[in-house]
Each structure stands twice: as C-alpha cells, then as structure tokens.
C-alpha cells in the first residue's frame, strides 16, 4: 500500500499507521479513506494528496 503526501502541509499518510485522530484504522489504504477524510495536520481535503 502506497504512502500519500499532503500538498498543503507536507504530512504523509502512512496506510500502515492509519489516522487514529480521524478514526482511520491501521492498514487502511489511501484509496479506501472516506471522501470526506481530511488531513489531520492542516485540514486539506483528500484531493490535496499525491502519491509519495
């Protein structure tokens, strides 16, 4: 599973870790994140992420 980087603030979404704050379990692929998921650091939307 691929890591994705936030264009806005530089945060990296690591599917192995998930996003506890956003209620995302470890092992969740970026593609499977809900469309309304936002960057936990800066609040940018999913469209603002690029493959690392």
């Amino acid at each position: 599973m691929k890591k994705y980087v936030c264009d806005v603030c530089g945060y990296t979404y690591d599917p192995k870790k998930g996003d506890a704050k956003g209620g995302i379990a470890p092992g969740t692929a970026f593609e499977d994140l809900p469309e309304n998921w936002i960057c936990p650091i800066c609040g940018a939307d999913k469209d603002s992420f690029q493959p690392a």
Binding site: D7, V8, C9, I41, C42, G43, A44
Partner: protein, 397 residues
C-alpha cells in the same frame, strides 16, 4: 486620556492596531525596521473586530478602539490567523468586550482552543461562507498553510477591502499607515524579505490562491494585512510581485554564503565571486555569516539562481553558523537553484562534503564535487575557484 486614535482606511473600516518600533528578533527573523500588529474595526450594525495584537500591545489597541466606539459595543470578533502576534490579546479582549460571537476557520477554532485555553465557544466558518453584519456582509476565504493551517482571508465586498492576515504584509514600523506613503525601495525590500522568510515554502499555494482570487472575480481596492502598511494604490504591483516571487523564477545572481576561520575559505569565496562577475550581467553576492543574518541570506536568495556555500572544517564538521543557515534555508524550500560547496581545512576536512550533502537534500542541483584547500588555497585551487565561478555564471545566463 490616551492619545492613540483609530485611523480610517475606508468608509466604515478603521485601523486599531499597534506599532512595535523596537522588535528586532521575530522568531529568528531579523526585523531591522520593527513591525506592527494590525487589527481592524468595521462599523456596521454588528460592530466587528478583525484580529487583535500581540499581548503587550492590548492597551494601545483598546485606546484606538475607544476613540471610535466603546469596546463593549463590539458584537463580533474574527480571527483570520491564530499566531500569537495576532491572538496574544484575544483572550483578554473577549473578556473585556464580551462579544456575541467569535469566528475563525475550522482549523483556527482548533488552534485557538489549544493556544489560548479558551472557555469561550468559538464559531467555525467555512470557505466561501458569508457572514451578515446587518447592513453589510463579510466573506471568508480559507488560505490553508498561508502560512498556518488556520489562515483565512476576510473580504468586505461593499467597500472592497480584503483583510489578508499575514499575506501581503511586512515587518515595517512606520507612522505612515499606507504603503503609498512609504519610500518604494524600502517597501519592496521589506515585502520581499517577508516573502522570502515567511511565505516562500508555500509558493505553490500562493500561485493557486492568486488564480483562485482572480477566478472569483474578487477585486480589492484596499488590502489590509496584519503587519506593516495597508495597500490602497497600485494593488496590481503587490499582486504581481507575489506572483513573481511565488513562481521562483531565477535571474543571473549567485549567492555565496560562507564562514571562515583564518581567512582561507574567505579567499576561496572571493575567487569564486571573481569568476562569476567576470561574466557580464551576472551578479555575485558575498555573505559572510559573522556579518550577515540568516534572514538577510533568505532575502538575497529570493530570485537568485545559484547557492554557493563554503565552510572551514571545525572539529570534523561545518562551522556552526553554516549549520544554522542551512537548516533555515532547507525549511524555506527554495526551488530552481544550482549549487556548489567549498572550503578549506587543516587535517580531516569534512565540512565541504557535509555542505554538499545538505545541498543535495535541499534539491539544489550541485555542479561539481566540492572545491577544497588544505590550510591555504594554492594558486591552482584559486584558479579552480575562478573557473567554477565562471561555470556558474555560464549556467545562469
């Protein structure tokens, strides 16, 4: 009775901020002309305060507000940017004013709650949302990471005033309120220094925002930032400057940043500069770090095509001021630079290699292996320095 007055900037908007004449160190950025913390009061059915000031300046802000309206008449407070120089006075302002509502972006609400331990409930506003002030309205535009996650603009369409928080601002204390009252060269220098030291890492977002504002058809007659003078004339000038700086286009200029122990690295720096300036139209700037502050280096690098860095080796490493500046520059994420490392040494000589590594990490396109000199650069090394200078200049032409 205090002599501080609110100053009118459009029909219903007053500047009620504070001037910080003597600040020189702004979290590591040398603010040699001081700064100001701008807050704005909109006189509408719902009297609205936009941003506040750094905590020690609260009385100046309240005196200015009081010259127009009793502060407890303020209905709304809007925080465009959560950073402490604009919100240090917010908690106490809320306590004194007891406003009906305090607004910030969604990220702003979270940040302010963390920073200020506020018990007062904040209201989050969304990108593009309109807030009625009764007889006028305000529109909010999110500007995430310009330059904090919480950052947003507020726009007053009826008077075409854009409250742009830190964007289009500068650290410049003045008794003049408007940009057109200030010597243009000073204005451009301070605006560029601010961009280079604060906004440069977010340049791709600046370009997106400028396009978005153009597409929205947003036309500002006044741009009211949170630091420095207010723009009311030639707004295209500042907008075009921002577009140019954000594009990170470079011109034939090489910045040679170095530190020296006993003068050998200095001699090498000067010979590289000789090679660069040998090519007509290419500028070399020598910046020795015992004399030049990191924020001055950031200014000089804005728009320069080459970053040439030299250090003597001290205890198997670069000189500490080189580590300082390179850490700072890396964070500013400059683009489109070529680079070269150099330096003298006594025995082990790690510094130039360390610099080369730092340049690579910064995604600077390194020209050649480091130029090094044991103890003192001999004639052939000085010739190599001049040749490298010429090569840099050729690349930049």
């Amino acid at each position: 009775m205090s002599g501080y007055q609110a100053l009118k900037i459009s029909d219903s908007v007053y500047w009620v901020g504070a001037v910080d004449w003597n600040i020189r160190d702004f979290h590591g950025y040398l603010t040699k002309r001081g700064s100001s913390y701008n807050a704005y009061l909109i006189i509408a059915d719902k009297i609205t305060l936009i941003d506040t000031v750094k905590a020690p300046f609260i009385e100046e802000m309240f005196a200015r507000i009081s010259s127009v309206v009793a502060p407890d008449k303020i209905d709304y407070i809007i925080s465009n940017h959560s950073e402490i120089d604009h919100t240090g006075a917010l908690k106490e302002t809320i306590r004194r004013v007891n406003p009906e509502k305090v607004f910030a972006s969604k990220m702003g609400v979270a940040t302010l709650s963390d920073l200020l331990s506020l018990e007062y409930p904040l209201t989050a506003v969304a990108d593009g949302e309109t807030l009625s002030l009764g007889n006028k309205e305000l529109v909010f535009i999110e500007t995430k990471m310009l330059h904090w996650p919480d950052s947003m603009f507020s726009y007053l369409p009826c008077e075409k005033v854009l409250f742009s928080q830190d964007a289009f601002g500068m650290h410049l204390a003045s008794s003049f309120l408007f940009a057109d009252e200030i010597e243009p060269a000073i204005l451009e220098y301070e605006a560029a220094t601010y961009y280079a030291n604060i906004l440069l890492p977010y340049s791709p977002l600046v370009l997106k925002l400028l396009d978005r504002v153009t597409k929205m058809g947003l036309v500002a007659h006044v741009i009211a930032p949170d630091h420095g003078p207010i723009w009311r004339k030639n707004l295209n000038m500042v907008l075009e400057k921002y577009r140019y700086w954000a594009s990170q286009n470079v011109h034939p200029k090489a910045v040679i940043v170095y530190d020296t122990m006993w003068g050998s690295t200095e001699t090498m720096a000067r010979h590289i500069a000789l090679g660069i300036s040998d090519t007509s139209g290419c500028e070399a700037r020598l910046l020795r770090l015992d004399a030049v502050h990191r924020s001055e280096v950031a200014y000089e690098l804005l728009g320069a095509g080459a970053l040439v860095v030299g250090s003597a080796t001290l205890n198997n490493n670069v000189l500490p001021r080189i580590a300082d500046v390179m850490t700072y520059l890396k964070g500013l994420r400059p683009l489109n630079k070529i680079g070269q490392a150099f330096g003298s040494y006594g025995w082990s000589g790690e510094a130039p290699q360390n610099i080369q590594q730092m340049l690579v990490e910064m995604k600077v396109a390194v020209l050649d292996d480091p130029i090094t000199a044991k103890h003192k650069p001999a004639e052939d090394i000085l010739e190599a320095c001049v040749l490298t200078g010429k090569k840099i200049a050729q690349k930049l032409k």
